[in-house]
Point group: C2
Chain length 396, copies 2
């Protein structure tokens, strides 16, 4: 007699993860497996399972039904695991080699089994250590163009696009972004977190009505504009890199939103690096910034010319209009990211890790200032070269 | 023994409609009922069922699984009946008394049973006959403000809004609009339909690249901007009216889109009337146009002030920005509607019914010209008064 029971969610241990992996038959039957939990345990378990003999590994990622933030425990939908797995698969169709391969998806247990990337480094960590990633910018430019073009109305039949919009409806994770990027940092909200030396600069932001008006517009865009299937959280902590490889991970915030949001988040996290660096090391990052946009826009443009299905694709000025909108949105969203990473709930090690208190304050003030300028002047800063000049200006 | 069988779709006849109504117990058990099919039979059956003694009636609307257009039969999703019923209910929560009451919804048979409105006239028919509808503009202004504000991010928790976006995903009906309003009329497409005397004007549209660029932007907005739950087809043929009452019907095109689309379609269909009228009768419609916008914007503004849940609602300039965007979108979408109703697949009787051939051509050319001006100049025409002046200009 076979008794079929619906699997119920339970969180794995290292031992159970090994048993789970064995059942998937991704390793030889008699393989000796080793398992280590390597996640930060805030949102997910990340089990690294390795066959001792061959050294081959897999990653088994399991979403936890809560998030530990500021000591509290927030309940958090397990559906995000499925969103993440599906986004990896969908983006992987187009950004070939730039996202981890998915071997198995388990909706009930909120598990995704995927390619082992433990030979790579999280880009943020490497960048802070001044490691060189000569391919990072061109790979991310390519990733952005491929994923965002191919999931947009320009590439898809409207039935397919609207199906994906519903499939990737992601209210709970979007709410986190709506609050932590677009709202809380611009109001005196309890989730904010900044050092006393920034109080004056922060108060100036809270009372800057023209700035808040522009952020309100950007938030409206985030809430309403279903342009493409975004990664949704594309900072340098969501990227594995080496000198030759780049893999974008963790798209649990994926949803249909404005194209410039992904581009802007990545650029903002590079911009943070320019603030902390000097001389030649700084030039490297400025080059990354320009290259990311140049590769993205050239690649997007090429895809448009060769693959767009939109009837108006050859209408004079339409492609330029779309790219210009993406550029302006990019700057605005980058500005929001710079500000929230400095005074909001979730900081970045690039800035918080600066040991000298005075230098840290100066750097954070620069991040805030740049954020404000990008948000307020996004329609006037009309090329990536102008962005670079602005960043160079700041360092004189 | 009870045998439960899943109901399968079958189209009703007048006899079956009476049996169906009896089962719903909306009439006394022994009531003598009379039934007439009063639809145009293109997309739906509309059965008017009346109790002979009391004269009380109901409407039973059943979607057909195909659309008869230009002699052909297009398959068409039955899901539209559910979308329509749910939109009537959702809009009815806010625009109280301005949409028919829904008594029953039958998903399998694609049937909605609703309030009998047979004492009212379809506004388009009445307007063509110069009937007076002194409440039409203020009622529709109110309807637009209530339905569009209350289903937007300004009024709803983001979870609720995103749930509605998925629930009202309506790809097949949206595709009809995407093609017939935003695409086909601007290209030499086989669905277009216009008289030879317009060929030159039409060719000028097809080769007007600046115009097509602006239509491409409007189409992109229609495809991507999920601002509010629209009616989606708010022309004067979707409105029942009398001197005192107004009821908006037929929201089968409902979906989450840009607010200005509903406002624009209604205004375009009034504008068509201004083209066909003279003197005082023309003034009546000009007054309707101004009043619709004035009531809509005043009411939307009041709802914003008293009910908005958005953190930025009091940020200086945000409400004005939102209303300005709606106004520009309104003009753009109105322009598209004017053009497609003149040279596209689906015409309006207001223009086609003009018997004098020369006058008809002149009127249609005016509709095309106005459409072009609204699309191209929508950022410069900055008040409803400017729209009225433009319409008066045309008639000098």
């Amino acid at each position: 007699m076979t008794v079929v029971t619906k699997k119920e969610y339970e969180s794995l241990t290292e031992e159970k993860a090994i048993l789970y992996a064995k059942r998937l038959e991704l390793f030889p039957k008699d393989a000796e497996l080793e398992c280590r939990e390597i996640g930060d345990g805030n949102l997910n378990y990340v089990f690294h399972i390795k066959e001792l003999e061959s050294g081959k590994g897999i990653i088994l990622k399991q979403a936890l039904p809560y998030a530990k933030v500021v000591g509290e425990s927030w309940p958090l939908t397990l559906k995000r695991a499925l969103i993440e797995a599906k986004a990896l698969q969908k983006h992987g169709e187009f950004a070939v080699g730039l996202v981890p391969k998915v071997y198995a998806v388990d909706e009930e247990l909120a598990i995704t089994v995927m390619e082992d990337l433990s030979h790579l480094t999280i880009a943020r960590e490497g960048l802070i250590r001044l490691e060189a990633y000569p391919k990072l910018a061109s790979h991310i430019g390519e990733y952005l163009a491929q994923t965002l073009f191919h999931t947009s109305d320009f590439a898809l039949h409207p039935f397919e696009k609207k199906k994906l919009v519903s499939e990737f409806s992601n209210p709970e994770l979007c709410k986190i972004t709506e609050d932590l990027i677009f709202t809380d940092p611009f109001f005196d909200h309890e989730t904010n977190d900044f050092e006393p030396s920034l109080r004056e600069a922060v108060a100036a932001i809270w009372s800057n009505e023209p700035l808040k008006l522009e952020v309100a517009k950007l938030k409206k865009s985030f809430l309403t504009e279903a342009e493409a299937l975004l990664h949704g959280d594309l900072h340098t902590g969501s990227i594995f890199a080496s000198e030759t490889e780049t893999k974008v991970i963790d798209p649990e915030f994926a949803f249909y939103g404005p194209v410039g949001f992904d581009v802007g988040l990545f650029l903002a996290n590079l911009i943070v690096q320019t603030i902390t660096r000097d001389g030649e090391q700084r030039e490297v990052i400025l080059h990354h910034i320009a290259e990311t946009w140049d590769v993205f826009s050239a690649e997007f443009s090429k895809l448009w010319d060769t693959k767009a299905v939109e009837s108006y694709k050859d209408t004079k000025g339409f492609k330029a209009y779309v790219l210009e909108k993406v550029f302006q949105d990019t700057l605005g969203f980058a500005g929001c990211e710079l500000i929230r990473r400095t005074i909001g709930l979730a900081h970045v090690k690039d800035l918080d890790g600066i040991e000298d208190g005075e230098k840290r304050t100066v750097s954070k003030k620069q991040a805030l200032l740049l954020g404000e300028v990008f948000i307020l002047k996004r329609r006037e800063i009309n090329s990536i070269q102008a962005v670079i000049e602005l960043l160079e200006e700041l360092h004189k």
